[in-house]
């Protein structure tokens, strides 16, 4: 179906660092992030005169794994080329990349479309290249004193995945990235948690207008934000009957806006030519030997079939490798009994609580989660108390305090469900009604919210331990006794 005038059209160029042990063209370790500047360098990645690149076979294997998973075609004779430009972070004044003969062509990635179904986002190509170094600017943006260069990053293997302009909203772009990240993680070739391991350039246009390239997006959320900003900016221009310039814009992460790049930067002529120090890549035959692991789509379907997860839960749980592994570990002892409840607790509650704390899933042991789900499943605690227990558990782990089991927390805080302990509930109901005459009046007047309010008050007084069904029944009785 042809796009209507005004339709948002997005294509992405995604650069991902491949998680190899050594760099693309030398033996330097890629594990540089916690070390001082210029400590993971050698004549090759420093671009010293006379040094020559020697290709890391593993990086090509990793890139081919990605190509296979994304349904691309490996070309017969791929080639490295030099992209020539001056920039202080580029030690050789050229980047070894691939130009007219990239490793892989075509392919696609399936994402959930805005309309809800699955849609294929076609890929143009995947190529392999080296990361440049990094500039650290001293002083501040307005009055920079000087810049320092750190070449630790120089030569880290990157793949660039270029999509066709098949996305129709910033949200779809975000979904594409999330799905891509999950796929790369499932392939064990990428670590999304490493700072700067992913960078995105986005092409965005409003159908019928010029295309704008937004560079320098370095986070998953940033993609959606930058594109949303651009959609608004471009639509405003159109509304005012102004022309959209075909240009390159930089995304300023801190301010959430895009800014036009100076025109000089757009006039690059990269003078590509084949890298004479490397031989053409004849690796097509390797593809048959590459065995792919279970990928996100397959795992999602398996979660639905094996654990009875809902589509949404399955999608959320398999959307990150760690999350999927975590879920399977949590339910491993008793899949039948725990799956449904665990899926809800992890996908709906745990993820939210982790995000709220900006906390990594790594800090939570699956066994602790199993303990909690078991208590809820057995009816020992209410859902409400379950959330309290979870919060205590997460806070303890976040603050590095001794971690208690769910059982211990329930005991220490006396959170066990008070079934049959009618005395405590009756007292709480009496208190709640006495303290809130207004609610009683409202209830008499037929205001529906009043009952919920009173339920809430009683829950609060029993600290969430009251069995909700029991509470409702007793409250209704108490109100009736008051002649309501």
């Amino acid at each position: 179906m042809a796009d209507a005038e005004g339709q948002v059209i997005v294509g992405l160029e995604v650069h991902c660092q491949l998680d190899t042990l050594s760099k693309l063209f030398c033996g330097c370790s890629t594990d540089y992030r916690s070390d001082g500047p210029n400590t993971h360098v050698c004549p090759i990645c420093l671009g010293l005169p006379g040094a020559m690149p020697a290709l890391n076979k593993k990086a090509i294997e990793y890139a081919m794994k990605v190509a296979k998973a994304l349904n691309c075609e490996i070309i017969d004779e791929a080639e490295f080329s030099r992209k020539n430009y001056f920039y202080p972070d580029l030690d050789k004044a050229y980047q070894i990349t691939q130009y007219d003969k990239p490793l892989a062509l075509g392919g696609y990635l399936e994402i959930e479309s805005d309309e809800g179904g699955e849609k294929k986002v076609r890929l143009t190509r995947i190529h392999v290249e080296e990361d440049p170094g990094r500039l650290v600017h001293m002083g501040n943006a307005e009055r920079g004193k000087y810049s320092l260069v750190d070449y630790n990053r120089a030569g880290i293997p990157l793949i660039e995945i270029v999509s066709e302009p098949d996305m129709r909203s910033p949200k779809e772009a975000r979904k594409f990235l999330n799905k891509l990240r999950a796929t790369l993680e499932y392939l064990s070739v990428f670590d999304s948690e490493k700072e700067g391991s992913l960078r995105v350039d986005a092409n965005i246009s409003i159908k019928g207008n010029e295309r704008v390239e937004v560079k320098n997006i370095t986070s998953y959320k940033g993609v959606e934000k930058a594109l949303t900003f651009e959609v608004t900016r471009q639509k405003n221009l159109i509304r005012r009957s102004q022309k959209i310039d075909r240009e390159t814009r930089h995304y300023l992460e801190a301010r959430g806006v895009t800014q036009s790049a100076r025109s000089k930067e757009q006039e690059h002529d990269y003078r590509y030519f084949p890298e004479p120090d490397l031989r053409p890549l004849r690796v097509k035959s390797w593809i048959d030997g590459i065995v792919l692991p279970e990928l996100p789509d397959a795992r999602r379907e398996r979660f639905i079939a094996q654990y009875g997860c809902s589509l949404n839960h399955a999608r959320t749980l398999t959307g990150e490798l760690k999350m999927a592994n975590f879920f399977e570990q949590v339910v491993s002892k008793d899949p039948k009994g725990l799956s449904t409840l665990a899926a809800t607790w992890i996908a709906d509650t745990l993820i939210g609580e982790l995000n709220y704390r900006d906390m990594s899933l790594d800090k939570v042991e699956p066994a602790a989660m199993t303990g909690l789900v078991r208590l809820v499943q057995a009816g020992t605690i209410t859902d409400k108390s379950g959330v309290d227990v979870l919060r205590v558990m997460l806070d303890q782990r976040l603050n590095g305090e001794p971690s208690e089991t769910a059982d211990a927390i329930v005991k220490r805080l006396s959170l066990a469900r008070t079934t049959g302990d009618t005395g405590a509930i009756t007292a709480a109901i009496e208190d709640a009604i006495t303290e809130n005459p207004k609610a009683l009046e409202d209830y008499r007047a037929g205001k529906a919210g009043a009952l919920n309010f009173l339920v809430g008050q009683v829950m609060k007084k029993t600290r969430g331990k009251a069995d909700p069904a029991e509470l409702n029944r007793m409250l209704a009785e108490a109100l009736k006794n008051r002649g309501v």
């Binding site: 004549p43 005169p49 040094a51 260069v149």
Partner: protein
């Protein structure tokens, strides 16, 4: 065993050296105690390596080129770093930022280039052997002009790791010496696969020269005796080829029609690659300090404009132009086609003959400052560049004098048949000595 050392005389009347080691340690091996000079574009750990350029003045590599490591393991003593045309760009060694090298045979003449310092050091007896590099004749030309032997190996037989690149797809490091035996010995030390240079092959050189060339078929390309080739030089070389016939070789006339475009293809290719290779010299890490007050773009321009010599700047400009968008297809891509044609011509000829012989250079050594316009200088490379374009081995061996100056006989062979060109040169050398 305690390390042994050689001490060297400081005098250098021909300005052959840019860095002269006063003493050097040596070890055991096939080159035990042999003094070897190294061209100044080959990285030597701890010894300044400038490519005869101001922009690399003060640059001391933290690592040895692969071949330098091999020299040391073979027991050689590194005698110093030899003068050259800046970054290898020239045919006379006059394009050195540190003054020209003089030809030991006649100090009013150039030693040839760009490995002029290496050739002069060997010719003057300052060292027994030297390493040079040959991008379009830079070993063979000075060997011919100075009356010594020089071999450009097959592309991929000697590691370029540590050779400061001028034109990666054309150049090879190779040996220079007074005799074919010395050249062969040095080749035996430096040849072989290197995992740091992906363009090397696993083709080590284990060879003792053999003077028997009975039944050898020698092709004589008409272009090597045509326009532009000095009659005196052509005469000396024809006589030398006659000696090969006397030794049992048969000669066959042949033609390399693609030579018409060889020089153009060569200069487009080497300047293009050079424009990229030399872009890293920007004043941030090499060369005189940049003016921090200026934008980095302007500062780069200042440093590069001031620190590169005229010929280097000319070739960077030419190469930058040839690779520019819109011109790539017209120049660089076309040059690669022409290069393929040269290769095809050689393959065709080598179906019928074993080697090709002709003069190394069209003339004897020029007088200093004689070649003042670049084009006439470029034309002097016409007989040497075809071997680089095709990647084939080629040796220059002294074959007599013209106007009192040495003349070189050039023998080119099939890809990887370095041993054969060495044998032919050896047969000739043994016959005349």
């Amino acid at each position: 065993m305690a390390p042994r050392t050689i001490t060297f005389e400081p005098s250098d009347p021909y300005n052959a050296f840019l860095t002269r080691c006063s003493r050097a340690a040596y070890g055991d091996g096939p080159l035990a105690g042999v003094a070897v000079a190294v061209k100044d574009n080959i990285s030597t750990s701890g010894i300044e390596t400038t490519c005869a350029s101001k922009i690399l003045k003060g640059y001391i590599p933290p690592y040895d080129a692969h071949v330098v490591g091999l020299l040391k393991s073979a027991g050689a003593a590194i005698a110093g770093k030899t003068n050259m045309d800046e970054f290898g760009m020239g045919t006379t060694t006059e394009n050195s930022a540190f003054g020209p090298t003089l030809n030991p045979c006649d100090t009013s003449r150039v030693p040839g280039g760009s490995s002029g310092g290496s050739a002069a050091a060997v010719a003057a007896g300052m060292v027994r052997m030297a390493l040079g590099s040959d991008t379009g004749g830079s070993i063979r030309c000075p060997a011919a002009f100075c009356g010594i032997v020089g071999l450009k190996p097959s592309y991929g037989r000697v590691s370029r790791y540590g050779l400061i690149a001028y034109s990666n797809s054309l150049e090879q490091i190779g040996p220079l010496g007074k005799t074919v035996s010395d050249v062969s010995t040095l080749m035996g030390v430096i040849a072989g696969h290197d995992r740091h240079d992906s363009t090397t092959y696993n083709r080590p050189y284990h060879h003792a020269p053999d003077a028997d060339i009975k039944g050898l078929k020698v092709g004589i390309p008409e272009e090597y005796f045509g326009t532009g080739v000095d009659l005196g030089v052509a005469g000396v070389v024809r006589k030398a080829i006659g000696r090969l016939e006397e030794l049992g070789a048969a000669t066959f006339p042949c033609s390399i029609p693609s030579m018409e475009y060889a020089l153009a293809a060569y200069y487009v290719t080497c300047t293009s690659e050079a424009s990229s290779n030399l872009a890293r010299f920007d004043g941030v890490r090499y060369g005189p300090a940049t003016d921090w007050k200026k934008s980095w773009h302007d500062a780069y321009k200042d440093v590069r404009g001031a620190a590169f010599g005229m010929e280097v700047r000319r070739r960077i400009m030419l190469g930058t132009f040839a690779l520019s968008s819109g011109y790539y297809g017209k120049y660089y891509a076309k040059a690669q086609v022409a290069r393929e044609n040269v290769r095809a011509d050689f393959n065709r000829i080598f179906r019928d003959v074993d080697v090709i012989a002709g003069p190394t250079m069209p003339t004897i050594a020029f007088r200093l400052k004689e070649k003042s316009d670049p084009l006439s200088m470029y034309l002097a490379d016409i007989l040497t560049v075809p071997a680089n374009l095709a990647g084939i081995p080629s040796i220059s061996v002294p074959c007599g004098n013209s106007e009192g100056m040495p003349v070189g006989l050039q023998i080119m062979g099939r890809m990887f048949e370095d041993e054969r060109v060495v044998d032919v040169a050896y047969a000739y050398e043994q016959a005349v000595n």
